[in-house]
C-alpha cells in the first residue's frame, strides 16, 4: 500500500494559500492519513467545504470536491449523500463557518444522523477576513471586531453535536496530531453523523492580536488550554476556566438517515403506508 499522502494532492494547485504556521495543513494531513489507512478510493470520496481559509482544503485534494457557500457545506453534502448513499461524504468547515452562519445546518445534520463526517477546524477566529471574533473565540480574547475583548460566551460545539443527535463526537488538537488522526478515522468509519472538532491555530489573525505571535507560541498555548477528558472531569470549576476538554465524547450506534429513508421507499413500493 502506498502510504504517502501526496498521492491525494492536486499538485498543480500548490503552493497553497495558507500562512506559515497555519494548522490547516496539519489537519489536512490527518484527514488524508485517516483516509489512506482505511483504503477508500478517490472516486468514492466527496469532500465539501464552506467558505474561509478552511474551505480551500477541497481545492487541494484529488477527490470529488466542492467549495460551496459560507456555512452551507452540510446541506450540500446532505443532497449528495441522499442521492447517492454509496459515496463517502466529508464536510470540512471552519469555526465561524460551522458554528455561526452554518449553525442551524450543523444542528439539523446531527439531528438527522445522516452518514456524513463533519470536521471542524476551530482556530477560534475568522482568519481569512482578518481576525474578527467567532462564536468560538474565547471570552476575553481579542479580535479585530473585539478590540476591547470578546464579551460573548463560546459555543461548545462538540457538546452541541452530541446533544443534537450525532453518532460520534470527538475533539482533538493540532498538537497531538496522531490522536486527531485516530479520531478522524473512527469518525469516517462511523455509520451516522460524526463530528471531529480540531482545536487549531491562526498565528496571523488570532495570534498577533492576542500576544501569541509565532506558530510555536500558539502551539504551546493550545497545548496549555487543552486537557484530556479524563483529567478535565477531575478538575474543579475554577480549574476548568479557560480550558477545553479533548477526547471522544460520544460513540453510539443509532439508526442512520439514508438507511431509514431507504426503508420508507421499500415499504411504500410494497404498498404499505405504515410499518
Amino acid at each position: 500500500m502506498n502510504n504517502s499522502i501526496t498521492q491525494y494532492f492536486r499538485e498543480e494547485m500548490f503552493p497553497h494559500i495558507w500562512c506559515p504556521g497555519c494548522g490547516n495543513g496539519i489537519i489536512l494531513g490527518a484527514i488524508l492519513r485517516a483516509i489512506n489507512s482505511i483504503g477508500w478510493e478517490k472516486d468514492e470520496i466527496v469532500m465539501v467545504s464552506g467558505i474561509g481559509c478552511s474551505s480551500r482544503i477541497t481545492g487541494y485534494v484529488d477527490f470529488n470536491t466542492m467549495n460551496t457557500t459560507h456555512g452551507r457545506a452540510l446541506p450540500f453534502a446532505t443532497g449528495i449523500k441522499m442521492s447517492n448513499p454509496n459515496l463517502k461524504v466529508i464536510a470540512v468547515m471552519g469555526d465561524g463557518d460551522c458554528a455561526a452562519i452554518g449553525g442551524n445546518h450543523f444542528i439539523h445534520s446531527a439531528r438527522r444522523n445522516i452518514d456524513i463526517t463533519a470536521i471542524i477546524i476551530n482556530n477560534m477566529i475568522y482568519g481569512m477576513t482578518g481576525g474578527q471574533y467567532s462564536p468560538l473565540t474565547p471570552t476575553g480574547k481579542f479580535g479585530s471586531t473585539a478590540p476591547y475583548g470578546n464579551i460573548d460566551q463560546t459555543f461548545d460545539i462538540s457538546a452541541l453535536a452530541a446533544s443534537a443527535g450525532a453518532s460520534y463526537v470527538a475533539r482533538g488538537n493540532i498538537f497531538d496530531v496522531n490522536q486527531t488522526t485516530r479520531f478522524i478515522k473512527k469518525a469516517l468509519l462511523k455509520k451516522g453523523f460524526s463530528v471531529v472538532e480540531v482545536i487549531s491555530d491562526c498565528p496571523i489573525s488570532f495570534g498577533r492580536i492576542n500576544k501569541l505571535r509565532t506558530p510555536v507560541q500558539m502551539l504551546e498555548w493550545i497545548k496549555s488550554i487543552t486537557v484530556p477528558k479524563t483529567t478535565w472531569e477531575k478538575l474543579s470549576e475554577e480549574e476548568k476556566e479557560g480550558k477545553i476538554p479533548t477526547g471522544e465524547f460520544l460513540d453510539i450506534n443509532i439508526p442512520e438517515y439514508t438507511d431509514k429513508y431507504q426503508e420508507i421507499c421499500i415499504r411504500v413500493q410494497q404498498g404499505r403506508r405504515e410499518k
Binding site: D43, T69, T78, G79, K81, M82, S83, N84
Partner: protein, 383 residues
C-alpha cells in the same frame, strides 16, 4: 374518452407541477413549508418514495437550495419550490448554481410582498427578482405558465432547459394558478420529450470540467462516476480551479451569459392571439394572460382592434417580437399584478415606436378581463 392512453385529471396547479416534474425525471426534491407552494412539497413527499426518488424537508430554504444542487451533482434531476420570502433566502445558492452551472429548477408560487406581504394572495412582484435576485452577472431562464394544464407542460420545459443549458431555471407561478383546479391532459412517458445534460465523452485523464463545447455548455460528469473534479463558487478556469487571470475571468463570465442569451430563440416561448391586424397589443403573462385573452375578445366585439402577446418565457426577454410588434401597433398595454415591472422591459424593447402603458394592480386581487378592457377603452381615446 376513446383513447385509453390519454389521462385527463382535475388537478390543482401545484399538483400539476408535481406531475410535470416527475414526468420530466425529477427524482430529488428538497423544500421548506411555505404558502402558497407547500402542496408541491406535499405531493413530492407522497410520490418520490414510490419512484425511489428522494424527498427532503430541510431546516430552511437555504439548505433546500443547497441540497438540490448537491443532488444534481450526483446526476439526479432536482428541484425545489417556494414563495417570495423563501425565494429571497434561496438567492445565495441560486447564484452558486449559476456560477457552477448545476442544473436545477426553482418554483416560485408568487404571493404579495415585500416580506411576509400577502401569503394567501396572488402577485407578480417577483419577475425582476427572478432575473436579478442573486448578485453578479449571469443570465437566467424564467418561465411563467398561465393555467393549470400549462403548468404541467411548462414544468417539463423548465427542467429540460435546466439540463440543456446547465443553469438554474425559475418557474414562476402565482397564487391563482398554483391553487386553482382545472382539467389537465397528462401525457404518457412516451409523449414527453426529455432532455438530459451532456456527459463527458473524453477519457478521465483529459477531462476539463468547465471546458465548453461549441454551444458554450460544458459536458457534466456525475460525482462518483470517476471523473473527479472541483466545483467552486469562485470564478474558475476550464479546469474548475479558482482563477485571478483577467482573460479567464472575462471569458468565463461572458460565456455564462452568452450560453443562454445566444440561444434565446430556442428558449423563448410566446403566444400570439389576434395580433395580425391589431392596433392595440396587450402584453401579459401568468394568470393575467388568460384574463387578457378574454379582454381581447371583448374588445373585438366592440370593434377595437386589440390583440394579445402572451409571454411564457419571461427571461430571456422577447425583445425582437416586442420591437417588431411596436412598429405595427399604436399602443401596448401591460397589465401586471405589480406596479409595473415587465412594462419597463417592454418600453425598452419597443424603442419608442409606440406608446407603452402600464396597468398595475397590487391589492391582492387578480386582474379581471373587464378592468383591462376599461383601461383599453380609456387609452383608446388618446389614439
Amino acid at each position: 374518452m376513446t383513447d385509453k392512453n390519454k389521462t385527463v385529471k382535475i388537478l390543482q396547479g401545484n399538483e400539476a407541477c408535481v406531475e410535470g416534474a416527475l414526468l420530466a425525471g425529477i427524482r430529488f426534491f428538497a423544500g421548506y413549508p411555505i404558502t402558497p407552494a407547500s402542496e408541491i412539497a406535499e405531493g413530492m413527499a407522497i410520490r418520490l418514495p414510490e419512484l425511489g426518488g428522494v424527498f427532503m424537508q430541510m431546516e430552511d430554504e437555504i439548505a433546500s437550495m443547497a441540497a438540490v444542487i448537491g443532488a444534481s451533482l450526483t446526476g439526479v434531476k432536482a428541484m425545489t419550490a417556494s414563495s417570495g420570502p423563501g425565494i429571497c433566502l434561496k438567492q445565495e445558492n441560486i447564484g452558486f448554481a449559476a456560477i457552477t452551472e448545476v442544473p436545477c429548477v426553482i418554483v416560485n408560487a408568487q404571493r404579495g410582498g415585500p416580506s411576509t406581504g400577502l401569503p394567501t394572495k396572488p402577485a407578480q412582484g417577483d419577475v425582476m427578482q427572478a432575473r436579478w435576485g442573486t448578485h453578479g452577472d449571469h443570465s437566467m431562464i424564467a418561465l411563467a405558465p398561465s393555467d393549470v394544464n400549462e403548468i404541467l407542460h411548462i414544468t417539463i420545459k423548465a427542467i429540460n432547459f435546466s439540463e440543456r443549458y446547465r443553469t438554474p431555471v425559475m418557474l414562476l407561478l402565482d397564487e391563482v394558478i398554483a391553487h386553482m383546479r382545472e382539467k389537465v391532459n397528462i401525457p404518457t412517458n412516451e409523449e414527453v420529450e426529455i432532455i438530459d445534460r451532456k456527459k463527458p465523452t473524453v477519457d478521465k485523464e483529459n477531462f476539463l470540467p468547465y471546458k465548453a463545447d461549441q454551444d458554450l455548455v460544458p459536458p457534466m460528469a456525475n460525482f462518483g462516476s470517476g471523473y473527479r473534479y472541483h466545483v467552486t463558487g469562485l470564478i474558475h478556469n476550464e479546469k474548475g480551479y479558482p482563477t485571478a487571470n483577467t482573460k479567464e475571468i472575462d471569458q468565463f463570465l461572458r460565456r455564462l451569459t452568452n450560453k443562454i442569451e445566444l440561444y434565446k430563440k430556442d428558449i423563448i416561448i410566446e403566444e400570439k392571439f389576434l395580433l395580425d391586424d391589431a392596433r392595440i397589443a396587450v402584453i401579459a403573462y401568468g394568470s393575467v394572460a388568460r384574463a387578457a385573452q378574454r379582454t381581447v375578445k371583448l374588445a373585438r366585439e366592440k370593434g377595437i382592434k386589440a390583440g394579445l402577446l402572451k409571454l411564457v418565457t419571461l427571461w430571456p426577454f422577447s425583445d425582437d417580437t416586442i420591437n417588431q410588434l411596436a412598429g405595427q401597433v399604436d399602443l401596448m398595454l401591460v397589465p401586471e399584478m405589480n406596479l409595473g415591472q415587465m412594462v419597463r422591459e417592454v418600453q425598452r424593447a419597443a424603442e419608442g415606436k409606440c406608446r407603452v402603458v402600464s396597468y398595475g394592480r397590487v391589492d391582492g386581487e387578480l386582474i379581471n378581463p373587464m378592468e383591462i378592457l376599461s383601461k383599453i377603452e380609456e387609452e383608446s381615446k388618446y389614439e
